[in-house]
Symmetry: C2
Subunit: 159 residues, 2 copies
Amino acid sequence: MAERGGPAARAVLQQCLQARLQVKPAEEEAEAQFVQIERGMVIYICFFKGATDDLLPKMASTLLNLRLCESDSGKMVSVSELPGDLLIVPQATLGGKAKGRALQYHDNIGKEDGLRLYAAFVSLCEERLAAASVKHGTYGNRQVLKLDTNGPYTHLVDF
Amino acid sequence: MAERGGPAARAVLQQCLQARLQVKPAEEEAEAQFVQIERGMVIYICFFKGATDDLLPKMASTLLNLRLCESDSGKMVSVSELPGDLLIVPQATLGGKAKGRALQYHDNIGKEDGLRLYAAFVSLCEERLAAASVKHGTYGNRQVLKLDTNGPYTHLVDF
């Protein structure tokens, strides 16, 4: 928990059969670039004001070890145990609070700190899921995503 | 807010260019059935213990009128204003709380009340978004979803 009482980070998780994310938009002379994972999990992630690096090992450990994925035999296992791929998507919109008809983002972390924490979180996941494929979006970009699921089983985990 | 202090309902919202949801699994002599929406919004919805029908008009009004969708000119408008389609997906997993490595669902509403509130919420959205296409999943089924986005802009709104 951050000092202001709310969460320090928020993750939304969806299971997928395949997911494809744009990591570089098309430019005049270059086509858009994408990363793709197969069966596994998409983690949408948002950091709030007050989030620090201390938080990251617990986040990675919780998200990679929660039994959220369905194995071939129908048993619930973690993405590490599946073993499944991982797609990490920065998603600042998760920090929005409705005020009237608009969303406000006063609690979101600043861009520099957010980028640093995001990059460190991605590195941690890459270390810990070495056997599988870890892909991730580009912080600050529009996250153009295609998702194919056998049931997304959407979960929310606040830290 | 429900009596136990937590939210009475939770919605996760994602913008889409197209979304396709299975509403009836394949059976021996029948193919699976799907509903599909074009540009608009996917609402994943979960009710908690203590949720009542009183809550539904405010939920529908908030979710259909929040400015979450990007118009062709890049302005943020509501799904009603876009006007966009709506896909409502029952998603009990949103009520999960991590305990150790498992998710627990002690705060989720019972199945009968959940089904009733879900059906009433769908009807309300159908009334209010009459111009557009409102599709929805079958409560209690596995929600097999394919999603194509230009940025899901994932939002969380608790009620």
